[in-house]
Amino acid sequence: MRPENYQAVSHPPSHEYEVFFGPNHPGIEGNYALKVRLHGDEVTAARADGGYLHRGFEKLMEGRLWIQNIALVPRICVPDPVPMEVCYSLAIEALGGLEVPERAQWIRVMQLELSRIAAHLFTFGGNAATTGMYTPMFWGIADRDLILDLFEELSGGRVYHIYNIPGGVRRDLPEGYLKRVSDTLDYIESRLPDYDNLMFTNQVFVRRATGVGIMTQEQALDWGVTGPNLRATGLPFDVRRDDPYLIYDQLEFDVPVEEAGDAWARTLVRRAELKQSLRILRQVVARLPEIDGPIRAPIPNPLAWNLPLGDVYTRVESSKGELAYYVVSNGGDKPWRVHVRGPSAMHAVQVLEHLVTGARIEDVAQIMFSLDACPPEVDR
């Protein structure tokens, strides 16, 4: 709801009605639904309706070998799959006491940041489309495809690249790959002024996003919100900096912060993060040729691989927030229990319900996309 445009009108009782928002609705991010009660065009109550994408991942993983689950985990978050693979691999390595070679760690960071850029470009497109601007969507998806081409060259898969495995990465970089990464980075950097003109300084978008879906820092902390949504409320918390994994402590980057906590601030944080990811990737591309060595630590026969008794909690920063795996091993060849902390589960259900209540119906899609919810990760 934009306060300057809104005047309270007393509606007759017949203006109270309830509508389904989803699951087949272009303003919904994937297979997800909201049921909203309207008073005129103002939402007075909302109920998130998930579960359309439930596949029972945590149960499925208990029935498969440690190494088989690597093929399963990227499916948990479709637009941003690499953090899933890396986080699960980190958990197994911590349990099995594997030391990941340095070159593999640098390659993993490159993959993680490329995936973050791809996910943010995808979100910008969807976010702009909810305000009626379809050009950023076309541009964002086309530019994202260049990154998918890089993934494809490395792993053979555009979307799901089962490339990070316990112990390291699957194969070394092809000849001239870093040059192509560098060229893609140049291209995306040269596109940023165009995106600014089209979307981030465009009054069509700025006025629709400002003051919509405000979340304070206390609320965000209470609700367990992480990632760009938390940083948009003024708290500079980033797992990459505050609990460094892989080689993030050797890299220079800032943690962008906004104060307002509305949809506009969340979009700006993502925009600034895109730039920081480009900065990280530049450092990785410069350093990677110097780092030699193996790309994979030797692992025992993966079909008869018993991990020692124990449990471990590993976390990484995905494009949606803090992603974590809690893995328990009872000494067998399969996990005894796996819990996935999908970052979207925190902000796509209760937080979304809360932010949508009091907003206007045309802003519902905007709020959902500005939170960057990922329904498959909510339902798992």
Binding site: P23, N24, G30, L60, R75, R144
Partner: protein
């Protein structure tokens, strides 16, 4: 569940006899209709699973589905193609069936990703339906996990060719063998399962009422069917949360 022998098979070269056999004018009209139909397909905007992430690239600038005359459409009433992109959980399958029955004939179902073919990598999951063909007549499968945009577009071109040649009419199968599909749906959702659409009356209307339209499952449906009520949605909220003023 499906007995393979009961699935009707159309050979690639076989032409279905069209209604206007013999009458030149009617035949020309039929061919013209098939041509127009094949060239303006509206695809329902319903992303059921992971495969949906490869549709934006297929639709937008790089692969550009629109050059084939295919566009996303937001309402099932005006859509021609139902794309089932990926695994279908039981909850989603109910919505898919409701959506499918709302669509106007002729309608085409495309199952994208391996999960719609045989369950894919979720073959042992308790939450997903394994074979889409058991619940809806599927015109075309595009296998892969996930299929690339080129594969999606190639599949859609094949569909266009099929529609042009009059081979893609599996929507008739839903009316002809409604009992079979309803039986599989009842097995999954329970015997109280019913949809707002009166499929049997529609089958009579389209002239597709056959010996297999009715059967033991439709008898069960009639036994449990409750008259349609004006729809009422229950949010389950006692009081409206603090509405701003």
């Amino acid at each position: 569940m499906t007995d393979l022998r009961t699935i009707p098979v159309v050979a690639a070269g076989e032409e279905r006899p069209s209604g206007g056999q013999g009458n030149l004018l009617a035949r020309v009209f039929d061919e013209l209709t098939a041509f127009c139909r094949s060239r303006s397909l509206f695809m329902l905007h319903y992303c059921t699973g992971c495969g949906a992430v490869e549709l934006p690239p297929a639709m937008t600038s790089r692969f550009d589905m629109e050059r084939l005359g295919i566009q996303p459409m937001v309402t099932p009433r005006q859509a021609d193609i139902l794309l089932v992109t990926g695994y279908v959980s039981t909850k989603t399958l109910k919505r898919i069936i409701l959506t499918y029955e709302q669509m106007n004939s002729p309608k085409y179902v495309i199952g994208i990703c391996s999960c719609t073919v045989n369950g894919g990598m979720y073959w042992q999951s308790y939450a997903t339906a394994k074979k889409l063909n058991d619940y809806l007549p599927v015109d075309m499968y595009i296998a892969g996990c996930m299929p690339r945009p080129e594969a999606v577009i190639s599949g859609l071109r094949e569909l266009i060719a099929n529609i042009r040649a009059g081979r893609s009419d599996y929507w008739r199968d839903y009316y002809r063998r409604y009992d079979h599909y309803l039986g599989n749906q009842q097995r999954l959702f329970g015997e109280n399962w019913q949809t707002p659409t009166d499929v049997i009356a529609e089958a009579r209307h389209y002239g597709l009422f056959g010996p297999e339209t009715l059967g033991e499952h439709t008898a069960l449906l009639e036994q449990h069917q409750t008259p349609l009520q004006p729809f009422e949605m229950r949010l389950g909220l006692k009081q409206d949360k603090g509405s701003s003023s």
